[in-house]
Symmetry: C2
Subunit: 333 residues, 2 copies
């Protein structure tokens, strides 16, 4: 458990990473927040890589317990409201919940504190809930680099469920599905392009479909259309049969049934070995994201490298060949 001392260390910019990890894994919300900030800042500030690596190495043995749920949908389907309702239903069952709201179109990250406090709504004073908005635009590696690392922090900090909410635009819904155990796709009536989006890629990624705003005209139609499309998809007999659930997130109607299906899907994943496969696939993607981010940085740093002038002199004088010089350059950047 975190001591008061380690918590008060929060204000020191130089708080040691082992102290932060110890506090975070003990349930200290501030330490969790600082580690998530380290992940976010690390995506754009190479000088933090040392601390970030240290944190990830110390967090690794603590992970693997959380149920990682991705939640995606087009703008306007009610993602924030649904997240809020899901958090409430999960808390009512005693689960600790971490939320990462990822906006792949925003360059702003980190200290969106006011926004996060408003988002937290009913949960602002609940120590069993952690909510953070993250941005990924303009960061090397984007969503695929920092989000899985933030998930690692919350997982290691003992959150039973980590909800990753992201707007379903372009590639991001596929990326969020790649890092989730269970992916929830949100739809709503009156959004003609919702089903078009579904046709395009959602059938690939959804484990649980939720038709929100189910009290509005057209909700049944959305469910029927979606069901017939899912039935058309060619799947093995023992595959998970994706449920399509109606909700009115603003009143909480139908939300318990969604939670039930999330937990049911998690159990199915464990039973069938699919969980292990998904997590291995996720680990592959994480390793590749870290490696390609490193290569991008190395590349970007080559031209301006201080070592290049001296190496060029050596090569121009015939004292070194370009390969040996490139080795030295790559080792230095």
């Amino acid at each position: 458990m975190p001591s008061t001392t380690s918590t008060s260390g929060d204000r020191r910019r130089t708080a040691s990473v082992p102290d932060l990890v110890e506090a975070a894994t003990g349930g200290d919300l501030r330490a969790v927040g600082r580690l998530v900030s380290l992940v976010e800042d690390g995506a754009s500030r190479p000088e933090l890589e040392g601390r970030l690596r240290e944190a990830m190495a110390l967090l690794a043995p603590h992970g693997g317990r959380a149920h990682v749920v991705g939640l995606t949908g087009a703008p306007g389907v009610g993602k924030s409201t649904s997240t809020n309702a899901l958090v409430g239903a999960l808390r009512a069952q005693g689960h600790r919940v971490g939320v990462l709201a990822v906006d792949p179109s925003s360059p702003f990250s980190g200290g969106a504190l006011l926004g996060d406090r408003i988002r937290m709504g009913d949960h602002a004073t609940d120590a069993g809930v952690f909510i953070r908005s993250m941005a990924s635009r303009g960061h090397l590696g984007g969503l695929s680099f920092s989000t899985p690392q933030a998930v690692r922090v919350l997982d290691a900090a003992g959150y039973d469920v980590v909800l990753v909410e992201t707007v379903g635009v372009g590639q991001s819904e596929v990326e969020v599905a790649g890092l989730a155990d269970t992916t929830v796709v949100l739809l709503a009536p009156g959004m003609g392009d919702g089903i078009q989006a579904a046709k395009a890629g959602i059938l690939e990624v959804g484990d649980v479909y939720v038709v929100n705003k189910a009290d509005r005209d057209g909700a049944d139609r959305v469910r029927r259309d979606l069901r017939s499309m899912l039935n058309l998809a060619d799947r093995p007999a023992d595959a998970w049969r994706q449920p399509i659930l109606p909700t009115v997130a603003s009143t909480g109607q139908g939300v318990d049934a969604v939670v039930e299906q999330l937990l049911e899907h998690r159990a199915w994943l464990g039973r069938t070995g699919a969980l292990e496969r998904r997590r291995r696939r996720r680990a592959r993607a994480e390793i590749e994201a870290v490696a390609t981010t490193r290569l991008r940085r190395t590349w970007a740093g080559l031209t301006g490298a201080a070592e290049l002038d001296g190496l060029a002199d050596d090569v121009a004088r015939g004292e070194r060949d370009p390969y040996a010089a490139a080795d030295a350059l790559l080792a230095a950047t």
Copy 2:
């Protein structure tokens, strides 16, 4: 000097790199050809990198003596004919000449033997001339990776002048200027876009301008237009003043004057310290090209790497963090 034994080793695919380098630096044309082939093949076959590195390391101390001349111009200005005429004029003065005809738009390289024999024309039986056509399209790093390494081979093999001929399209004329001590820009009358091309970038790269086909209508106009553009360019008082020379390459008319200006420019480079600066800049570009080619290959190899599955298992089980796994992956690829 190369022994007959090492020359007959030419037919062994496994001829050792030190033997090849010794033979090439001793003036053995076949060994020179095999090293240039190694450079070309190495651009698309990573498994040759070991031999290529060994060759470059052994060649490095032998370099730096050749006068590297770039020759560029739009299609149709008479580049091959001009190269042929320049080779003849240089040979008449006793210089050994190596020619690399680089076609950045062609995916074919290496064994364009018939083409090279035709190109060699008058010089096919002259041991003081080496000519090779090189392609760069589709190779990692393209022109900037393999051409400077081929220049190194010819330089180390004792060619007094290495002529790099390339068609002036897009970026290639800037690249060829980057690797030359002296850049010749060829123009011809009746090619309206010649001067347009000049406006775009040629003023930056030419040290010697040649208006070929000077016996045709409009040649004087091309020279006058070019002279006024060069006079408009803002240059320091002690800068090299680029000559504009008329030639009829097909008859050899005016070619001796071009050779004279090439040698004059080379002397000016040495006198003013510009040679050293250009060669240092060239070395920088070479080192960067080797380093970025290595990074590109590493990047391309990441996803399919055999090590990735095992590393992903380790990460999924919490036995390794993604950074440590990325280190191992990058070290293995």
